[in-house]
């Protein structure tokens, strides 16, 4: 069995993994390896051919493949090693990685530090429990995206999209560009789950009808989808009898949410937060297993790729420091607690001593929408430490609030930090 040893091994070469590898190398790690299961680096960005990437980091509006290539070019320039077309099978808590590809067979790799960057997966038909027959023609929006944008196949001619997530809306436009008819987009929630910009530019522009509080009651068809039966739902997601409609179509696309992909993390003993679906992490994105870090959508699903890149830089830098044995000896961890109208906060805990040295960003999501001005408050349970005003808070848009070095004194004394979102 071929054996290799590395300072930092990054699993996955999407935006989180690429940034982690770059940061690890720049921070002084000598041997850095990226393992990717696809035939080329870049991850899902390669199939996201639409614009809108890089506005934060590059102040430019780039398509996904261009955003990826800037980092791929840097990886090659920095002489980071890569293993493509390679599947990681197992990771141990001692940071031993078992992987396989068709040239080398089974490969054993000992890493001083690992960055998990496997990204996320789309929720499937089974996970949203769609009743009806099981014909061909039911795909996730991302699968359709890969076929249309990379492989050059059209999955069907007439579509219904379930879920108003961004990928679903972007695919509705893309399929229209390629000559298909998108009959309907159905959303079970009373509000849009993706960005308003995508609703306007992907659906309204092409007269594609969106129905909120609607879902698929049944899929109709034997060998191929012939139609779907839609139904309106009440506030408790219960179907309202008499509101059913048969919508003829040959394909149903699902855009019903993303889940961090952590099968490998679990094998290594990494503890997973049931709310985010990703590892419990500290301010350096280190998991509960020493030397195993994580970056990007594998931790929690971001809205913007730019923030995934930022997370990758932090995790990669910390992994590099760990691999070189120069992690700080003294750490004082303090927990973050999701308070009122906050679903979760990442990181889950931070090293108090670091607050004195650098700005520390906390990222969170609201539980329910508040369509009026709000305060996002960080407290020690009683006293306000810092707060940030926003015009509204929506579950679909991640909120960032920062701790600054001048708040060190009060953070230092706190037992835990509680973050709340409340109307102003």
């Amino acid at each position: 069995m071929p054996f290799k040893s590395y300072d930092v091994v990054v699993i996955g070469s999407g935006p989180g993994g690429l940034a982690a590898a770059i940061a690890a190398k720049k921070q002084g790690a000598d041997k850095v390896l990226v393992i990717e299961r696809d035939l080329e680096l870049g991850g899902i960005l390669l199939q996201c051919i639409h614009n809108g990437f890089g506005v934060e980091i590059f102040k430019e509006d780039l398509p996904g493949p261009s955003y990826a290539q800037r980092f791929i070019d840097e990886i090659l320039l920095l002489k980071v090693d890569t293993l493509l077309d390679t599947m990681v099978l197992d990771i141990t808590p001692e940071r031993k990685i078992f992987a396989t590809n068709k040239l080398l067979g089974i490969i054993e790799i000992q890493a001083k530090a690992i960055v998990l960057a496997m990204g996320c997966r789309e929720r499937t038909r089974a996970q949203v429990r769609l009743p009806g027959s099981r014909p061909a023609g039911v795909y996730s929006a991302g699968t359709a995206q890969r076929w249309v944008n990379v492989e050059g196949y059209m999955p069907g001619k007439s579509f219904v999209v379930l879920g108003s997530g961004d990928i679903g809306m972007i695919m509705a436009r893309r399929l229209t560009f390629e000559g298909a008819k998108v009959e309907r987009v159905l959303e079970i929630m009373p509000y849009l789950s993706g960005l308003m910009r995508n609703y306007v530019q992907c659906l309204l522009d092409y007269d594609i009808r969106l129905q909120l509080q609607h879902t698929v009651k049944r899929i109709i068809g034997n060998s191929r989808v012939k139609a779907i039966e839609s139904v309106q739902v009440d506030e408790k997601w219960q179907p309202i009898p008499g509101t059913e409609e048969i919508i003829p179509c040959d394909t149903l696309l699902l855009s019903v949410g993303l889940i961090p992909e952590n099968e490998l993390s679990r094998k290594a003993g990494v503890l997973i937060d049931p709310i985010t679906g990703g590892p419990y992490v500290d301010n350096e994105f280190q998991t509960n297993i020493k030397g195993i870090f994580s970056a990007g959508n594998v931790v929690h699903v971001y809205d913007l790729v730019d923030w995934v890149t930022e997370a990758g830089y932090i995790a990669g830098k910390a992994a590099s420091v760990y691999a070189q044995g120069s992690s700080p000896a003294k750490r004082e961890m303090i927990s973050m607690k999701a308070g009122s109208n906050v679903r979760y906060v990442v990181p889950h805990k931070i090293d108090k001593t670091r607050v004195a040295q650098e700005e520390m960003r906390l990222q969170l999501r609201a539980t329910t929408p508040i369509e009026k001005p709000v305060w996002v408050e960080v407290t020690d349970g009683k006293n306000l430490i810092t707060r940030r005003g926003l015009l509204y808070a929506r579950p679909g848009e991640m909120v960032t609030v920062s701790l600054k070095p001048n708040q060190y004194d009060i953070v230092q004394k706190a037992q835990e930090l509680v973050i709340n979102i409340s109307p102003r």
């Binding site: 960005l195 306007v200 509204y392």
Partner: protein, 119 residues
């Protein structure tokens, strides 16, 4: 003539609903709107434009499609004709990111670029 239109502003993620009165050449944005919202409304009412991203055929060992995008937003009415033009293109690898795939598309002065390298 007095025409009223409702649009959703996408100048920022908030997504305000704007009511627009068009009195001949004059455009009046009513209801709460910010400066950026007014600019957006005027642009949408006079010359709506969009970025377009699509693919063109390519002959290579690894890929059959090359993703491409417009260097600037193009007039909305030109989107379908542009897609027709892109369907006629058939390139041969190698192609470099940023390479011009279609120059001065439909006389708009806007080029279409390759979104990535394909070797």
């Amino acid at each position: 003539m007095n025409e009223e239109t409702k649009i959703i502003c996408v100048a920022c993620p908030k997504g305000c609903r704007l009511r627009i009165n068009r009195q001949g050449e004059t455009i009046v944005v009513s209801e709460q709107s910010c400066k950026r919202g007014e600019q957006y409304a005027v642009q949408e009412m006079t010359d709506p434009r969009r970025m377009v991203a699509s693919t063109v055929r390519i002959q290579s060992n690894s890929h059959s499609l090359l993703p491409v995008y417009t260097s600037a937003p193009i007039p909305k009415g030109k989107i379908q004709p542009l897609l027709m033009e892109l369907r006629k293109i058939n390139l041969r690898a190698p192609v470099k990111m940023g390479q011009v795939v279609l120059k001065d598309a439909l006389g708009t002065g806007i080029d279409v670029f390759a979104s990535r390298d394909i070797n």
